[in-house]
Subunit: 651 residues, 2 copies
């Protein structure tokens, strides 16, 4: 039996530091942290193949802390090990003193794991629970693709494992045979407001994991012998999962005498707690071991693998891509849906090995299928599990991939919290939501993405630390713009969302048009008023224009194909030249392009009026896009009448 | 062995009608529908205790069609049975002819189940997958509370069962011992874009359900003997689940020869398919049975139970409620957080037995705990599974409860698709998201609800069929308004969302203030400009006002406590009286109150300028709300400086 005295001593020291840093911070989760003290120490000082001085190896083993609130113990270890933070060109080495800056405004030790502020030891922001195993699955898919022997240790709370996404991830890990992922369930038996349900007991977790297809080991999470045995075991055919029985607040009597969650010790409680840990050390017979950190740590560091995070990817010419996608016939008629054009673009982009894709069992609707057929090794079927899909895409992106993830826009929204965590992470994920708006018609409201524009616009106006939008939103109206915006997304670092539509529509742009971040197109030049539209509604607006022209009304038409608008004032200026009247038409709920322009108009000196026709009723099934538009008062006739009324009102 | 010849014949007839109605509609899912033909026939003609002529009994057995796309077979049966649709005061009896109106604009037979348009056989809009079992769990909780012997049959697709929420629901059903729910997994082996994963095979489902704590029966879903045996079995201690092996497109060779999903037969394919079903009938030896519908159906109808959907609920006086909640000491200091006031209000509302509550293991943070302690039989701990929590609340509401569901605002957002389905259903669910905004400070962005206002405002501007907002949004700034808005929510029929904050704040309203839908309060009357705020930012605005007054600037302050604003023009008028200058301050992302007023200003003749300071950076941890506000450029100083700059610009 190995002697773990030096590690036991380390556990005591890290435990003390954890108590001190959370008390100093005045908040945090020391009890959860202590329950992981032995496992984290074993991983970070011995088991993981990595280099704390270079967290950018891209070939090392990684820790995914799904239960993000337990992070103080990881910070304590990383600081003790002299771990490096910051950016590759501006690295900064931490010391134990830095641990005491936890949660300070200018500290990189955020309340929960957050790589985007400069803590590259982590791949994903966590803390909204249940997402880590999916991230680990994405990292493992990328590693297999790159032929890298990496392992991904994922720490999941027992209470957390009530989240359905955890089981979506378990399905994905087993189905894709991702033996590089080791899910470790921290069974300390306590949640925030109550003890953990018997549905998440160690026995229940063991039974469930076995049923899902894992080899399962149940261990004492404070016994190094058992920890090393399980965490260094080579998985066989099946992936391995570990259920670790632990004690919340290990070693501190104040925390172990009742359910103790999510609060630090007061200053006046600290001395007793530190004495508790000293007593624990004595009890374990390790109080005299005083090896310095460098000797306790026995780590091997893999050779680094370079990561090109700012790739230039080309989809080539539109028509060649459409021909390759078997869409030549559609082009002859000059009609093609935006979703098909996305499929053609993704297929063309697939020439670059960094491009990967995933989809939620609707790839034949989103047209991600074309990529899946051509590049099967880089396509990962996510099945009907959108939350796992998005977090898995985050993991793929963290490993250097340009990760596309698609579903119906409506169904992507159920992963909005995972999407928000991807925004916080600044993940290089490209989301594509198809069948958006009400042009889906017959399937009805349960399948229609009509809140998506408002949701993503909220993120679009949040700025990353580099000043770029936390999410770029693409709203293509035709196949050409969808094609070029897909290419643009692939070349933009960070989170993007593109909205595509079901129906075939005329191709209105030529190959030589260019599409840029936050851009718009002035499609038709009129003088009486301006109609602004996006996506499918651009075509409806054009039909309205024909009706208006028959009535002698001459409107400008503008296609807003991206948010946030880079230069909304230009559109206001066009409105100013058209009697100061703008009418925005949208097939989505309030919060989209009309609000974008109203926001700009509200602080503009031009005095432009921004009218809007947006979806303001709950849609239901109809048999055609035209009927749905009529029912929602968004038909060409409705638009033409609204335009006429505006014109009459100023006459 | 019983003779099922009449039911076999019914299956053939309903199968034919399903083919006709989907071909007539030009879209739909006949193959999924046919896989359920026997199970649905057994349920709707024999097993369920209900009355097709009165779907408003509130005491009957219910069918929850989680895989909503299979709905044509249910419509076919319901039309054949002369089922009633519409409203209780305007009932309409269907005929088989009505089945052919599927998906028409003025038909109540929507593409997917949708009770809100007048199809009361269903309790919930479904079609976004994975939500039905949670709804059934909510219905069963309500039935147990009401002492009603009802059963809830829930049909779930095998591919659908990849959704994590399905397993959240299974945990909830087992933990709450909801033997009244019978989950039936339709294992037809085919998804939309591919065959169903081996992770969702009948064997895998059986193993998983067993591990989750169910007694499981695996049956042939086209064998009436086995269907009746399983679906009428009395569960023992454990809940029962059924895995039904079925054939997608049962009886139609065109559909069974390959993966056939989500498309109707063409007109020219119909005759062959109908002939296939006739041949199937002959093969089963039932072609000669021609019993009329009324004889095939052998149904028992329970006595009706009245349902009061428009209750008047009172929380009583604020101070008495706070005393009862043990908050007397806080009142002495005149400070109380909005989340505590919500807890006090919910406790007070608990005097009405229709009020129920659920929470996602943060009830000691949201203060739903007060209700849980006082009314344990009406509190349902949802654990860390927000999606199941929201859909379960929908089920509770469908059974006549006033269902409150709470979590951190950030974590509620992960159920946004379930919330949208509740909006489509027009469910009487009251959502409360706590720890919203950036005043949470130390915990960092993974715990902060900062996109919630934009999300819910999108729904707030969608109108129900009765013209009311699909969601009312409440943004209380102090304990009094939080208390009264909680009471208002309980009295409003339909979906509501209230946003509460962590910190204690001064109580600024007196007991005699009233709070109404879409309202605001003119807190301070100034003349130089108007500051508009909501929630926590009202207090920040008041601090800014003090700074501004020191600089000789006299601003009006308005508290917008609800969206959609009923009379935004009144606020614009106040702005017009204050040099035409409004400054909106928000601790959330773009898409909230500033956009609400900009939208109004953009069509107003008043020419009011709407400036805004909203959260436009990704938050990180800090040690105090004040530091977070400073980091986000939303501090009192920032507001005062922005106000001064606005004033200077017009001087």
């Amino acid at each position: 039996m190995a002697d773990y005295n030096d590690l036991q001593k380390k556990v005591i020291d890290l435990g003390k530091l954890t108590l001190r840093m959370t008390t100093e911070a005045g908040s945090g989760h020391p009890s959860s942290a202590l329950s992981l003290a032995h496992i984290v120490t074993a991983l970070m000082y011995r088991i993981m193949r990595y280099n704390p001085r270079d967290p950018w190896l891209n070939s090392d083993d990684r820790l995914v802390l799904s239960e993000g609130h337990a992070v103080p113990i990881v910070y304590a270890a990383y600081c003790d090990l002299g771990g490096v933070v910051g950016e590759p060109d501006r690295p900064k080495q931490l010391t134990s003193e830095d641990a005491l800056t936890l949660r300070e405004a200018d500290s990189l030790l955020d309340g929960h794991p957050n790589p985007a502020i400069g803590f590259p030891f982590f791949d994903a922001a966590t803390g909204s629970l249940g997402q880590g195993a999916s991230v680990a699955a994405g990292l493992a898919l990328a590693a297999r693709l790159d032929g890298l022997d990496r392992r991904f240790f994922c720490l999941i709370g027992d209470g957390e494992s009530r989240e359905g996404q955890v089981w979506e991830a378990m399905d994905a890990i087993v189905e894709h045979k991702l033996t590089a992922v080791l899910p470790i369930f921290n069974s300390n038996g306590q949640g925030q407001s109550d003890y953990v349900s018997t549905q998440q007991s160690p026995d229940a977790l063991q039974a469930k994991l076995t049923a899902f297809g894992f080899d399962v080991r149940v261990i004492d999470g404070h016994d190094f012998e058992q920890i090393f045995d399980a965490l260094t075991a080579q998985p066989g055919e099946k992936p391995l999962a570990v259920v670790a029985k632990t004690v919340k607040g290990w070693g501190v009597s104040e925390m172990t005498s009742s359910n103790y969650h999510g609060k630090p010790l007061r200053e006046d409680q600290l001395a007793d707690a530190l004495a508790d840990l000293d007593a624990k050390a004595a009890e374990l017979g390790v109080a005299d071991v005083s090896a310095p950190a460098s000797e306790v740590a026995q780590l091997t560091s893999p050779d680094p693998v370079p990561l090109n995070r700012r790739p230039s990817v080309s989809a080539g010419p539109f028509r060649a891509a459409c021909d390759a996608a078997g869409m030549g016939k559609a082009l002859e008629k000059n009609v093609l849906s935006t979703r098909r054009a996305y499929g053609a673009a993704l297929l063309a982009l697939g020439g670059d090995p960094r491009v990967v894709a995933t989809d939620g069992d609707v790839k034949n609707s989103t047209f991600t299928e074309l990529f899946a057929q051509a590049y099967g090794d880089r396509y990962f079927e996510a099945r009907i599990a959108e939350q796992n899909m998005v977090s898995m895409a985050l993991g793929l992106a963290a490993a250097g991939k340009i990760a596309f993830a698609s579903s119906f826009a409506k169904f992507l929204m159920r992963a909005i919290d995972q999407i928000e965590m991807a925004a916080i992470t600044n993940a290089n994920v490209k989301l594509v939501g198809s069948h958006a708006g009400i042009s889906l018609a017959a399937d009805g409201p349960s399948q229609m993405g009509v809140a998506d524009v408002a949701f993503f616009r909220a993120y679009a106006h949040s700025k990353r630390t580099d000043g770029a939008p936390a999410c770029r939103v693409m709203l293509p109206s035709d196949a050409m713009s969808a094609f070029k915006l897909t290419e643009l997304m692939a070349n933009l670092e960070g989170l993007c969302y593109m909205r595509t539509h079901r129906p075939d529509v005329p191709i209105i742009y030529s190959e030589d048009e260019s599409f840029t971040e936050g851009g718009y197109k002035h499609l038709h030049d009129g003088s009486d008023l301006v109609i602004v539209a996006s996506g499918y509604m651009v075509h409806v607006a054009r039909q309205a224009l024909a009706l208006m022209e028959a009535n002698g009304l001459d409107a400008s038409v503008i296609d807003v194909y991206a948010l946030p608008l880079a230069r909304p004032d230009e559109i206001l200026q066009i409105g100013d030249d058209c009697n100061g009247q703008i009418l925005v038409v949208e097939d989505n709920y309030r919060g989209g392009v009309a609000d974008e322009l109203a926001m700009a108009a509200a602080v503009s000196d031009l005095g432009v009026t921004v009218h809007s026709l947006v979806l303001e009723t709950m849609p239901k099934s109809t048999k055609s896009p035209e009927e749905s538009l009529r029912a929602a008062a968004l038909s060409p006739q409705h638009i033409a009448e609204a335009a006429q009324a505006i014109f009459d009102s100023i006459a």
